[in-house]
Symmetry: D3
Subunit: 270 residues, 6 copies
């Protein structure tokens, strides 16, 4: 595991802890952040030992969103022709989106643990995670509207699948703050906790539960839920049938069954 | 109405009561179950008198899911070639899915009344029903993860349309139990009741309400809601326009209108 | 702004207030209503000064739904041939749908403020709005089932995206009344208020918030959320990248950024 | 039938002949053209007597495409802000597209008879027709590439359904001319004729064949083929079943059947 | 293999020959036909020995389409209410469609060998086959338009994928006859032959080629091509990757490889 | 431009010539090939000077498909568990697919010039190109069926969009050879040439034509045609409107218009 500039990554008990680590900048997302997150989640995907990921922020906040310095620099690469600038911007946006697609498409479940601010790009990021948990007083905002733009790295695409369409629009049009409790009541976070320590403890407990299951079964489950976000029920049924055609021949079923019979905890290979 | 091994079926007041009837096995789903449920719902679909269905479990539980004996037998039909085994398994899964598709595609509304355990295949089954009601202390679990596999007869396909994506993943990855109250708060069940009798009373009251409506209108409504689960809004608008092009020429509108004028209860033909 | 028969329209502070104005008929939707709503929302779309819309009902109710006189008249245009009648009905339904599509497709956010009755067509209408707010004691009902038909101007198409599939079916099959509080708990309305005046005050406050944002950014956000109702996440990501390729070259970003730096309120061109 | 500036419209024998009538400008598409074509096809759709449409060009050519004057004027409405200009252009393009959508969505079959030049917008137009016939020496070209833009009123969207993807790309990237014979060999036109008179005679003969069939059946067929351009086979099967549920109750089947028994020509109501 | 009324079925050299066998009625499709074709193709699907199917007609013709007696009988089951009749007709059409879906969804390739008339329902049937071959002078017609209805058992849904959209519409609107040569030139049939015997010889030769390949690979290929008719390229790539994840572990690859090395003909298990 | 092991790349006159360069192995696709093709097309995409690509094979053949050594090695990474092996194989296939996706998604047109053998993986590759040209005697075969597997790197996904569904299945089930002339007649190649030199001359002439057009317009056109392969007509119309909202503000339109007025050849910036 190499060193990262914008992150700190730890691996223990089959759980990777990915920590956004620019606390002095409220974990604003700079160029390092966007590049490294792809590398980290490729490593997660390729490392058999990792069975689940917890994603959190160092210091007082989860993340204040994209570093405004980065936006300013982006403007510098533009030239004179509006059409060619449009092409440059389009490719740049697609490139930034790829960073959060890496989280979304990672085969292992990613649990976001959110405290303090989670603003703008922070919402785009957590919308790409599997589950979200927060402190009761965490502060969320779809901030992009306040810098005069429609959010373009995932919030407007993934959030409508997570919260109701009506509340989605209110939050996206107004950019108003909402706290952990309101986030929970609208289905954005699964559970809230009293403080950052209780949050991490709680999230790691769930991650450990997941890490104890058959990794094949967890990954298959994730693939199916991800697939259903965009596909028809009949296509989904056909897809799982094709998928399980191979997976039901795995040893994990026998391991699970034997443990069940013997009332023991099963031990699955990575 | 023939006799069934795994079910008991009653018809009264235009409502079919379909009862899973293997209480000594916690209503585990054996070979009889998977075959008979198709026959029953074909009968429901073909019998004009039936206008709504209540689905419940005999004894202490709704259902503990697939009978593990069945899984064990399935392994016996496999041969030596991994590819051919994959094809056999794929077809077997598609065949099991067809049993719950019969519930989903039935033209009459199906109301699940759930008490006690509703585990594994039980969740797959209720996800194929129109509405779900339970006792407050019913126990639910997406159990498949604990036998080392991704659920493959409908839970992962239909449940994400019923509950939030974030909670969906937590429940599917961990297999943790949740009770009727939590099920209600996440939108899985519409209402909870104090005990099994209150549950059945409540569900039958709703079923009677539905059975008093125009059967054509109820079936058209079900088709449209089912259709929208997988289609675009513009396609849905075109579909209902085509559907109602015939249905608005039915006598049911005149019957309803006349009853409305005379402040009487309308009587619709089956 | 011309005079309307079924509506009253006011414009102030960049917010259009569209009021259904047939209080003596409980704002039932007559022929004028269906034609004028298209004209009004075309005007909204074409008038740069309008940045948000509040939609409400004059008198005691939001709307009691389609005027039954209109239904009766529709029957008069039918002839003898069932096939040709089907074609006439199909085109008529598509024409009525177009009235509410005009609300749905309007580029500016539309906030429905609901009090009193919101029945039948009233639900179809609010389902085409961006957000919904109501008094606590507002009364909602998917009334169409009671006139012997499946709802065909939008409720069955748009509502399943707004509330849970299970509750959707119960309400559509039974037509039972539910109040503002229940509407809020199922995600149909974002917030409830004590009385009609508090409701209008609250909704106008949100509308003013929206009207103060970059109009380009608000319209882009609406387009993206609308698009996601029917498209895949990957298509949505590509679409916003193409959209923002032009929009990030707008002055609104610089205006927003400058105001942010100077801690001032930004002023955006219409 | 009112007078048109850019068109001449004739109706005889249940066939509307729509003639682009700016021969001195090679039937270039000016502002009149784009507005009037919508009115004409609304009239076609609403006039029961019209059962088929033949679309052709007066003078030496079918059409040389969009009038360059129009493009020049379009530039005049642009302002200073790139984002707002993008919005104006986007809406303008959607408006032009609507003119050809009116042809595509018209319920009656539209047969294009093409001679001389059919360039740029001319291709966009014929791609929205049901069938295309041409003289052997007609000259086609996807001209837009030569004015520095990607075609945006239908060619790139509809043509790939009509000709092979590989040839589609060659023609769209190079803008090279191809004649009627090559157009026929790639499936763009159904048949070629020696000269303009033979072309019109041939096309009217086919139109008369169509006009003698049940109009309900022809319109149903058109709707189904149009639908299949964008939908799945299973959706299409369900759609025709719903459609024919009403249409098979029409008198046209009995009329056709009786004529068949008596070996007579059936006469269908409009 | 049981006896059939409307068919004769032979099995030799791993090829099933399914012969429509009502020559005295020009192989018109009666009630027996529609029921038995489902049974036959279920048997084909379930019988490992069958690796390919040849479908042809006994006597002078392939098939003259649906038996008009059947249509007449269908009318008899209708009652008085237009809406209920619509429902009956809709279900009846879906039931007839299921007969040809059985051909389309059969896992083994089906080769149609067509001579003489192939009219109306005959086209619906061959459109559901994998490949079509005919005599040069076979006569085709989308006959449904001449009995006053839009074709509803597959032609309008499957044929646009097989022939160009423009020719599709001409043939469906006019019902005109076209011969084997024209069918070949538009891609409907792959090859034409001089006479029925040459046709059968040629088609059986191709069927034998297919029967000699790995059955797993042929079935996987069919599934993929069928899937692509209705799905996106990216979905298709993901689907084959999931499919081959199991199938590449089959012995058939080793058998094929070994035969290739030794320049021998491979022998695959059924 | 770095050195490649499996390719030779040349750049002149704004056209990149990408040559598969393992003539002694009939350009079989080894590990170098699969890795380097991604790098090359990323370079093509990122290098403004490149406006079109010609792809050909060195020596006697275009390509004989995947190197069988590579397949053999792939088997070595497999372990004991069938489920885990399935996951490894699935990821490996997705990785190989990515190599040809790089060709498909490249923003610049890719013209394949094919002579000699084009077998197995060779077909997968050319199916990902924009256009295909060949010598008259080139030899094509969907070879995968002969090694006991369904093709899984693009042929079964992309070819059905290029050739008729009926011929597609014949070629995929039988693996039979077909030559350049037959390929042309089924729409797989746009044109055939007498010999390899005439082929390259002809293809470069077309590439030069394309390279002389506005690069923005060419790239927009490619994106739209690619998009239409998988999307609806209405979505495509909306997408080009959004795309051109920016692109019509480019200088290229003025350059093209001015050149048109002055009857000069336009010169576009890269």
């Amino acid at each position: 595991m190499p060193d990262y500039q914008a992150f700190r990554v730890e691996l223990a008990d089959k759980i990777a802890h990915v920590i956004i680590d620019r606390p002095e900048k409220a974990n604003a997302m700079n160029a390092d952040f966007w590049r490294e997150i792809i590398e980290i989640f490729r490593w997660v995907d390729d490392t058999d030992e990792v069975r689940a990921v917890v994603l959190s922020g160092a210091g007082k906040h989860f993340s204040s969103g994209i570093d405004l310095m980065l936006l300013a620099q982006a403007a510098n690469v533009l030239g004179k022709d509006i059409g060619r600038n449009a092409e440059i911007l389009r490719r740049k946006i697609l490139e930034l989106q790829a960073s959060f697609n890496a989280v979304d498409l990672c085969r292992k479940p990613v649990l976001a643990a959110i405290h303090g601010y989670c603003l703008g790009g922070g919402i785009d990021l957590i919308a790409a995670c599997d589950m979200r948990y927060s402190t009761r007083d965490a502060q969320f905002s779809i901030k992009e509207i306040d810098i005069g733009m429609a959010a373009d790295v995932g919030t407007l695409q993934r959030l409508p699948r997570l919260i109701g369409d009506g509340m989605m629009r209110e939050l996206a049009y107004t950019g108003r703050h909402f706290d952990g409790e309101e986030a929970r009541s609208m289905g954005l976070v699964n559970r809230t906790f009293d403080d950052p320590q209780a949050l991490l403890d709680g999230v790691f407990a769930i991650a450990r539960d997941i890490a104890a299951k058959s990794p094949l079964a967890v990954r298959g489950t994730k693939e199916m839920v991800r697939y259903m976000r965009d596909h028809r029920v009949d296509d989904g049924l056909e897809y799982i049938a094709t998928w399980n055609a191979a997976m039901l021949q795995s040893a994990d079923l026998r391991v699970a069954m034997a443990a069940h019979m013997n009332k023991q905890k099963p031990e699955f290979a990575d």
